[in-house]
Symmetry: C3
Subunit: 273 residues, 3 copies
């Protein structure tokens, strides 16, 4: 199942339009190529609508959003919706500022989002309209533990039912939820928090998975989250003693580049409810 | 001949002004240093004209162009022209949107371009005023094959004669053309298409070659294209089994960093007509 | 002493707000994580003030400044000042254009800067109101030599006394100065000039050091400069023959990631006057 999701990406080379932050944009582009997709970035309102029309999916990431890119996100999103393209929202730093929170909320309300991926603090902010994040990282008070897992799942499913989007909350344990389905993924390594862009890269890659697997966005998200986690595990295994987070970033993308369906299927640690 | 082009870059450290996309800008800066040049980026209309005046050459790349950077490209280009600086245009995604196509056409019409470098789809778009690209990659219908090579060369020469710019079309086989000269380069490896920015990096580096070798822009472009292709071959040779596209990107820049004139001369596979 | 500065960063995870250029921003984010801090980037005037308020320190870097980011720097800086957050200014390219020089001078005049870090040409520009840089690199005429060292120190101390900021001039020999204290650091390797962003990364990391060590900004800067130099030395030691500047960049960040207080203390080569 995961295998076919991965293979669909490699065999169809989905072209993904990214309106994303300038911090991790290069990594997002390279991981899209690594997974079998193709990236294009266009964030001017006069360019984004046309560019999104030639793509298969749209990845909206509000890190380093600004007065110029916000209308581009909105208009590209509306156009992508008209074309039935999958749209993923990554609400980077929602809860950290009014502009980020409000922009994310506006996008959620206006666009027919296929998926939303963030950390627990960001998703809580979107669901409740207010929240606290520690910058772009999850607030400690929000950490998902074995004790809180069921409550977080119920919360995610409720928000998924309300929005119609597949809700993906990533952290030490990852949760993918629709109103009636849940995936719990236990792949990944702590070092993924030691680089900038693990989340951004996952969102970019997941948009390629959604685009290549239009029949089942839920499983596409589960597969993408598993792929990222498995790649993290492979990347750590390939680390030399002097390697640090910069090299880890490269090895993570490299691992996605080499990941095949059998490896993904064999190493994925996930549970569907 | 190629050797002297490379050595001129290393001995004169040309300072290149880049108005370029934010996706691959870091790689462009590092490859400029690797080849022996020096980069500076300035894309505000109030900054770009003065910055271009202290540089030796100008690299205009329209990926992620926007309403703020387009006038900066134009005014910096006009100033660079007044100063007789070489100007290279990389029409990323021309044909993919009206804004990109129209901006590229305006730059071609207004500026005394020394060189234009793109894939076959982008160059066709500029030459005909309309075209189709698959995002920022060449359209499949446009692939240069042994059967179509002569026609593509004739097309490139015609466009070169019309614009006065050295036309460089890169792909599996690379073509460098003026109205009466042609270079066909067969270096390079398929993996160069597996990273973002191979083309952008070549354009940045080629601007350094043009700046350091003002007497013969055609040979400067041939040398830069050969250098990039040879570096790709060396980079692949240095790959370990677990290395993927992220590491390839580093090894490519590393190979440019170590490339010397004799290696370039010895490994370059090119034909002049 | 240096050891406690480093350990303070690792134990407090200072969140640093960066308004910085898009060329080296990813490296700045990753080195902030590597050293034990956490990065956030926000450069829109409607976002920057709120974001800076949730952070502990502010890093202002004027590379690729533009009409949209300049007011964000100013307003975020004013807010950071009200909150007594340390503010570091990196005047990239001051002296290379009127916009850069004037923006840097305005920031110096308006904000309660804790530290200013640049090359000798940039700092001279700020101190005298005019100057010459070779793009973003120091002008050759400005090179600090054993013969000119005392004069440069006197100049730095005078400018420090005038501005109240810790003045840090980096080059082959690094100088950290207040009105009555001086640190001379002799760590580092020439290869740090072969990548883009050595200075930007140091400024980002130094802001984390300032944030985590509010009691003594002078020693925080000395420690950050030593850490960067020592990391450069370690990175070079870890280079393989085919590694070039791209790989060096990764190894530099990797070395910061692994750097501990004892190694820093043991390898730091500095003199306090």
């Amino acid at each position: 199942m995961l295998k076919s999701n991965l293979n669909q990406v490699r065999s169809t080379t989905p072209l993904v339009h990214n309106i994303t932050n300038y911090v991790t944009v290069n990594d997002c582009a390279n991981i899209l190529i690594a997974c079998g997709g193709a990236p294009i970035m266009a964030d001017d309102v006069d360019d984004a609508v046309e560019i999104t029309a030639i793509c298969g999916g749209l990845n909206l990431n509000i890190g380093t959003l600004n007065s110029r890119t916000i209308p581009a996100m909105m208009t590209a999103g509306i156009r992508a919706g008209e074309l039935n393209h999958p749209i993923l929202l990554d609400p980077v730093g929602a809860g950290a500022s009014t502009l980020r929170t409000q922009t994310a909320l506006n996008l959620v309300e206006t666009l027919p989002l296929t998926a939303i991926r963030g950390n627990i603090s960001e998703i809580k902010t979107l669901a409740t309209g207010t929240g606290a994040t520690r910058g772009v990282d999850a607030d400690v008070a929000d950490t998902v533990t074995p004790e809180t897992l069921d409550a977080v799942i119920a919360f995610a499913q409720e928000f998924a039912a309300k929005t119609g989007a597949v809700i993906t909350i990533t952290g030490a344990t990852d949760i993918v939820a629709t109103g009636d389905r849940v995936g719990i993924i236990r792949n990944g390594v702590p070092m993924m928090a030691d680089i900038t862009g693990s989340g951004c890269m996952l969102s970019a890659m997941a948009t390629a998975y959604l685009t290549a697997n239009p029949g089942d966005p839920f499983m596409a998200m589960v597969a993408a989250v598993c792929a990222m986690g498995v790649a993290g595990e492979i990347a750590v295994k390939n680390m030399l003693p002097t390697d640090g987070n910069a090299t880890f970033r490269n090895r993570l993308i490299d691992a996605i580049y080499h990941l095949d369906g059998d490896t993904l299927e064999g190493r994925a640690s996930y549970e569907l409810r």
